[in-house]
Amino acid sequence: MIKAKNTTGKRTVDRIVKYFFLSTAVLSASFIFIIAWIILIRGITPFTTDNGGLGTVDLLRFLTGGVWLEGQAFVSTLYGVGFLIVSTLYITFLSLLIAAPVGVLTALFIAKTASKPLARALRTVVETLAAIPSIIYGLFGAGIILKLVYDFSAAIGYQSKGGNSILATALVLALMTIPTITAISEVAIRSVDKTLEEGSLALGASQTQTKFKVVLAAAKSGIFTAIILGVGRALGEATAVSLVAGGRRSGFSFALLDTTSTLTTIMLEGLKETTGIDYDIRFSVGLVLLAVILITNLILNAIKRRVGTIRVKE
């Protein structure tokens, strides 16, 4: 009797908990839609209204433009983000060029080569690095990396703009993405079946050959996931980047020591003080950024499906 009573009680509790969980899930999921909706509504305002008598922003010009704003702020509607889309992708690519090899090789070392205590220590270091807020990386960038880049360019005989440059930005982003890439690649590398390695070694392959040709190949899919997350972090970073980018306002530029801007830095600059069209247009830039992130992720996932189909495990 008592037993039965208990079960009913438990069932009721289970049901309550179930609905409680459901409601939190609905709540958190709905935030995504609310955020996307608000950004969308505000983001398209500059293109659909006359912006309080200033005129409509030309969408095509906006997406392809090489100048952030021609004419006077709060009066002109001649905005353009084309050069920012390009520089955002370019900087992300450059930072990945540094972060991916360093991150993956560090992960390989932690997972396969390092002694157990060393691996544990390194893992803690990497996790700590991944948890450091971006503003701290930004301060490090503004205090140390700018000076290094400035001195480096002076040494090669080029007068840089106080170190504010594409190179400094890519370096700061690389520092930020290395821990993300390392942490996730390390898990992927560690989960590679031991028998695969043993098989490779038994066939006469050296340790190095085994690590590069068997372990990394088997962990390819996981490593790619790590890189996708790294790209996400690099594309969306605003605070740290804005401290070292230099606030370029016009022109496509690929020179490593030239100043730059990204979609995120242009949104952040003056955000707290601006009003009217100059404020609304930042939501439009946000929309463009969301689109860029979405498209990049789709492409990377498509590539990942291609390269990661070989299931070496099992």
Binding site: E70, Q72, K161
Partner: protein
């Protein structure tokens, strides 16, 4: 393929290491006047930028990036200050209260940038912070009028001056303390927690105004200060323009970060100055330049002067 990749990585990191080694050992070469001037500015939403551009006779650049020299660098206040400690060939501007010994503050038209010279009105790269109030008897209630009068008296006390200085502006000289004159303002000994006083006008002064009301509220019966800062142009309009002052945007006190114009004339008891906002052009400590004129600054910012040699006489 893999081998080539490995070699590339090795070369890359080898290169980075050598570059860092070089950078670390580089000694600061002598200042080379033939170098280009790196021009630093705040973004178009900045009040400091508006004050600086107006002060050097380049008002069209207050909110317009298109008229600035090509290749300018946008940074915030701290960014300009910290970069000027690195970039030997840079020039920027910050508010006087931010200047420290890591940079060189330039004399303006032969006058040293100091608080003393701002208060005795010899240092010219500055703008006044002004207040304006409604006409006697033209307030929503007699208590509001009395609080406003008490607030104006507070501006002239050393307590008010300390608050202004802490908020980054330069207060006028004051001889009395609030404690000494508090007794003259009966309204401040009452409980005013249900009385709302409306503050408005210049958004450049908002920070100072908010600091002042925060300091004054507990001294005057905890009245409620409502801040709505929309620009210097609204200071007169919203307190004294018959067409606007009695609408929903009407204000009890409003501020202006410029002198009032002849079209904004009100009786002498209804307006006054509360502080100065002084701006200093700054360069690297190694820069031999010590004095600069308004016309030179304008020529630097509009691109007519591009190298230091035309400013520095050997």
């Amino acid at each position: 393929m893999k081998k080539i990749f490995l070699i590339l990585i090795t070369l890359f990191f080898g290169g980075v290491t050598i570059a860092c080694g070089n950078a670390a050992t580089t000694t600061t070469a002598a200042f080379n006047p033939a170098s280009n001037i790196n021009v630093y500015t705040r973004d178009t939403t900045s009040g400091t930028r508006a004050g600086f551009m107006a002060g050097i006779g380049f008002a069209e650049a207050e909110a317009n990036d298109s008229v600035l020299v090509e290749g300018f660098i946008i940074k915030d206040n701290t960014g300009i200050l910290s970069t000027m400690a690195i970039d030997e060939y840079g020039i920027g501007y910050i508010s006087l209260s931010s200047v420290n010994n890591t940079v060189k503050g330039l004399y303006f038209e032969g006058v040293a940038p100091s608080e003393e010279n701002v208060i005795n009105d010899t240092y010219a790269l500055k703008r006044p912070f002004m207040w304006m109030i409604r006409d006697t008897g033209d307030y929503p209630s007699i208590e509001i009028e009395e609080i406003v009068i008490a607030f104006i008296a507070f501006l002239g006390t050393s307590d008010g001056a300390d608050t202004i200085a802490n908020a980054g502006a330069i207060a006028l000289q004051s001889s009395t303390t609030w404690d000494a004159i508090e007794g003259d303002y009966d309204v401040c000994s009452q409980d005013n927690s249900d009385i709302v006083v409306r503050f408005g006008g210049s958004d450049s002064i908002q920070k100072v105004a908010q600091a002042l009301t925060a300091a004054f509220m507990p001294r005057c019966g905890n009245f409620v200060a409502e801040h709505d800062h929309t620009g210097s142009g609204d200071a007169y309009k919203r307190t004294n323009d018959p067409a606007i002052k009695d609408t929903s945007v009407g204000k009890d006190i409003a501020f202006s970060s410029r002198w009032f114009k002849t079209t904004e004339a009100v009786p002498e008891s209804q307006f006054g100055q509360l502080a100065w906002d002084a701006i200093v052009a700054i360069v690297h400590l190694d820069n031999p330049l010590s004095n600069i004129t308004a016309s030179d600054l304008k020529a630097i910012y509009n691109g007519n002067i591009r190298t230091w040699s035309s400013l520095i006489n050997p």
